[in-house]
């Protein structure tokens, strides 16, 4: 069953032996399921039974088991896999471990993932590259919420095969009825998840029953052991038969005579002389050479990292794709996708993220959160945000079109990650459902009177002066005074004031984080239209979140957005309290009040920083006006 390591491999026969190894197929799987169901123990068992543990590692394991073991006098096989200090101390898995083993029939890469809900993102990491999910269930506990969550994520990530490992069967006296009950429960709920196969196996990871060999303790189970099942499962991918996709990673231009496009073939095949088009521009060409270090090639297919040279000098850069002319990908700036959320800060409609496909990167706003999936009953629920570890469907609006397929058609060109613009954290993963046609139908009206001509007529440079600061910090007072001055000197201006806008355009919004984000999004759009009309717009909004101010800035052309930080400390604002709001908020009568129970994130690099304490508004406005004149705004 297990790899018999040749005792005396003759050096002369080694090449033959290695050729045999090379011809084995590779299977990637992960173990998942709820905390303590025995995932790490199972991997430890597999490594142990396939004789992959060296003597020195075994000695270390024995020592470790005495210190950290959860299995009394026995060695604790989970400690072979739980490699981080914190994991060993707490007896849980925190992050995914990748381990490698081989049997005479196949090579395996296994990802042991954490069951703990807090670390669901690490389970998703392990699942994204796996062909098979081994879902463990503790026979004493049955299906738990994490069993469901992991199954849903596995399904969303395109895993087609599941092994339902009913583990710790030793602790229920190898009872067939317990096994049958859990299998029935699982099958009932997994039927909607679209798995091609679900293979139940009763198991004891700790004692090895049905892991690498059939167990005498479960005579009622006549199926295969886990290993022999995984050795024979057919997971051949059909990516090579799909249309040609070549995401360009890197333009290789070492000298004037060579210009090649380096990348990995995502699907299909290509041969010298084949026609291709550039996905985003539709420009056609033909493949002139397929260059590699080992010499030019006639053909290349899915999975190969090559460099393509084209017949024509056409514009192609990183993020674009070379594709089959008769089966092109979507090119769109609006799309719908399944999203798994990884971050403590929730995903929010209106907020802008970086959307990263395999080689392309673009700013993207969640234009609509269609629904969240309830992991207990799969119901689609209305939601205002996606919290950590939640799953839902969102529409995205991108700042520039990207080329993609749907995830169902192609896992490589149909997926993306979301990155936070401030922290650079990877905050979510997306699996594309379909493009949204809005962009194609609502064409931009080309207008003859342009922004430039409108501004020139007014003899001014349009701008959005964005005043941010706590309630009562003096934003409106300063904005008012400034507008008066600008008006007198013949400038065309308009003030958008937080309180006023909330009486009309934004009367449907409250003060939760989601509503604040939407509030700012709408105001930014209005300010943008007004700047387009040639006006100098003064926006006076608390706008407490950096991400939204950044979003507003990114919507305007460079140099048009001026962030003015009206800096008045909390204590001072609370003392001035012109509207009596602080007194009420501090008593708890107003919820989500900025500075009291809702945060204010100070600007890190405001264009102008006005410290108000001890200064008169008139002075501050003079200062502001001088700055604007110097920069050519007035």
């Amino acid at each position: 069953m297990t790899e018999t390591i040749p005792r005396e491999v003759e050096a002369s026969g080694i090449r033959d032996y290695l050729a045999l190894q090379e011809n084995k197929t590779l299977l990637r799987f992960l173990t998942c399921g709820s905390v303590d169901d025995g995932k790490s123990t199972l991997i430890g068992r597999l490594l142990y039974d396939t004789k992959l543990i060296f003597e020195d590692q075994l000695a270390t394991l024995e020592k470790d088991s005495k210190k950290h073991g959860t299995t009394g006098e026995d060695i604790d096989l989970a400690l072979l896999v739980d490699g981080l200090e914190a994991e060993r101390e707490q007896g849980i898995t925190i992050d995914v471990a990748y381990r490698f083993f081989a049997t005479p029939k196949r090579k395996f890469i296994v990802a042991d993932t954490p069951g703990h809900e807090q670390y669901t993102r690490n389970m998703a990491t392990g699942a994204s590259t796996a062909d098979v999910a081994v879902v463990l269930v503790d026979a004493r506990q049955g299906i738990l919420p994490q069993t469901r969550r992991h199954s849903i994520i596995a399904s969303l990530l395109g895993i087609r095969h599941v092994v339902l490992a009913v583990n710790k069967i030793d602790l229920v006296d190898f009872d067939e009825a317990v096994f049958a009950g859990i299998v029935a429960d699982y099958e009932a709920f997994a039927k909607d998840l679209g798995f091609a196969t679900v293979q139940p196996i009763p198991m004891s990871a700790r004692y090895g029953d049905n892991v690498t060999r059939p167990s005498a303790n479960t005579p009622w189970y006549t199926g295969q052991s886990l290993i022999s099942y995984l050795e024979t499962l057919d997971v051949e991918s059909d990516l090579r038969e799909k249309p040609f996709r070549f995401p360009v990673q890197y333009v290789n231009r070492p000298n004037l005579n060579f210009r090649g496009f380096a990348g990995t073939v995502a699907s299909g095949e290509i041969a010298v002389g084949d026609a291709v088009v550039v996905a985003k521009s539709g420009k056609p060409s033909r493949v002139k050479r397929i260059a590699t270090y080992d010499g030019d090639r006639e053909r290349a297919g899915e999975g190969e990292a090559v460099t393509l040279v084209l017949e024509d000098e056409i514009e192609v850069s990183r993020g674009n794709m070379l594709v089959a002319p008769d089966a092109r990908p979507h090119v769109a700036d609006q799309l719908a996708a399944n999203v798994v959320w990884f971050d403590e800060h929730p995903l929010m409609p209106g907020r802008m993220y970086i959307l990263r496909t395999e080689t392309d990167e673009v700013s993207a706003t969640v234009s609509h959160l269609k629904h969240r999936v309830n992991i207990h009953n799969f119901a689609h629920e209305a939601a205002k945000c996606l919290d950590l570890n939640e799953v839902g469907v969102c529409n995205f609006s991108l700042q520039a079109p990207v080329a993609f397929d749907t995830f169902a058609e192609n896992r490589t060109t149909g997926s993306f990650v979301l990155i936070d613009r401030l922290t650079n954290a990877t905050v979510g993963a997306g699996m594309i459902l379909h493009p949204l046609r809005r962009a194609a139908n609502i064409h931009w009206q080309a207008l003859d009177v342009t922004k430039v001509s409108r501004a020139e007529q007014k003899h001014q440079k349009p701008a959005v002066l964005w005043f941010t600061g706590l309630s009562g910090s003096g934003k409106s007072t300063i904005a008012n005074l400034l507008e008066k001055k600008l008006h007198v000197s013949g400038r065309h201006t308009y003030i958008l004031d937080g309180d006023n806008v909330r009486h009309g355009l934004n009367r449907d919004l409250g003060f939760t984080e989601e509503d604040r984000v939407e509030n700012i999004r709408r105001v930014s759009e209005v300010a943008k239209l007004m700047a387009d009309a040639g006006l100098i717009v003064l926006v006076s909004f608390i706008s407490p979140f950096r991400a939204e101010r950044r979003m507003a800035r990114d919507m305007m052309p460079d140099g048009e957005f001026v962030e003015v930080f009206v800096d008045t400390p909390f204590e001072e604002c609370a003392k001035r309290d012109p509207k009596g709001l602080y007194a009420r908020a501090l008593k708890g009568e107003i919820k989500n009040f900025t500075g009291v129970d809702s945060p204010y994130e100070e600007p890190e690099r405001a264009d102008i920083h006005l410290r108000t304490v001890g200064r008169e508004p008139e002075e501050l406005v003079d200062e502001l006006e001088a700055w604007l004149r110097e920069k050519g705004y007035c």
Binding site: V9, E22, L26, I94, Y98, R99, Q249, R356
Partner: protein, 301 residues
Amino acid sequence: MPATLSHLQRLEAEAIHIMREVAATFSKPVMLYSIGKDSSVLLHLAMKAFHPGKPPFPFLHVDTTWKFREMIAFRDRMARELGFDLLVHINEDGVREGIGPFSHGSNVHTHVMKTVALRQALDKHGFDAAFGGARRDEEKSRAKERIFSFRTKAHGWDPKNQRPEMWKTYNTRVAQGESIRVFPLSNWTELDIWQYILQEDIPIVPLYFAKKRPVVERDGMTIMVDDDRMQLLPGEKVEERMVRFRTLGCYPLTGAIESSADTLEAIVAEMLTARTSERQGRAIDKDEAGSMEKKKREGYF
């Protein structure tokens, strides 16, 4: 062309893909070149990834001044023959203080001459991405590390808070001063490495092949007497024995194994029947359980 790729072809393509991602998205990448077999494979893959160009980044060797002499000779020969841009960094403070494995022990020596030296070199040049040849099968904390492994401004690794890594879609964004360690060989095993060296005929340091060498038994390890900085202790004597090395590092800290394997085929055959892991011959990994993780948190590769 085969209908499906072999295991080594997939591993090769994956590593090349990773290297191109780095070259395309970072402003100042570097490849750590430690002269061992994994580095030799990494170098070979880099030559492939950017063909017909040269790798668009320099190669950095952090020289502890205690490497085997044959390693240094090999390094200089490879740089000459392949024409890559080689940077060598030595922690001059450590040299001035006379830090060495015999006088200060493996911990202090490794920390000052390797970990600190590496941080110095990365800071000096402002590298924002650094390739390393580490593999997940080497050690249990390495098995936990991402291919693109984020480092703070202080070069620290936070194993409890790694970025999710989905598919082959890598998050290559860092803020000023932060960096990423990149491990293109993450999914290779020791066997894959040797098999690839054999298949591609990649040059490696002769110390990997068995030969009669002058060695001394000390602390349960067989240490090669590589220069006269190694003083014999009472009762020790130098013997000429057929030995070779499974991994290479500082000579006083790297144990040799008794072997007659003097061809690549014989090395692979020996490896297949080995009863101990390759890291067993390294003094620095044995100090305490979790010692590798601790070093990595401090910025070690």
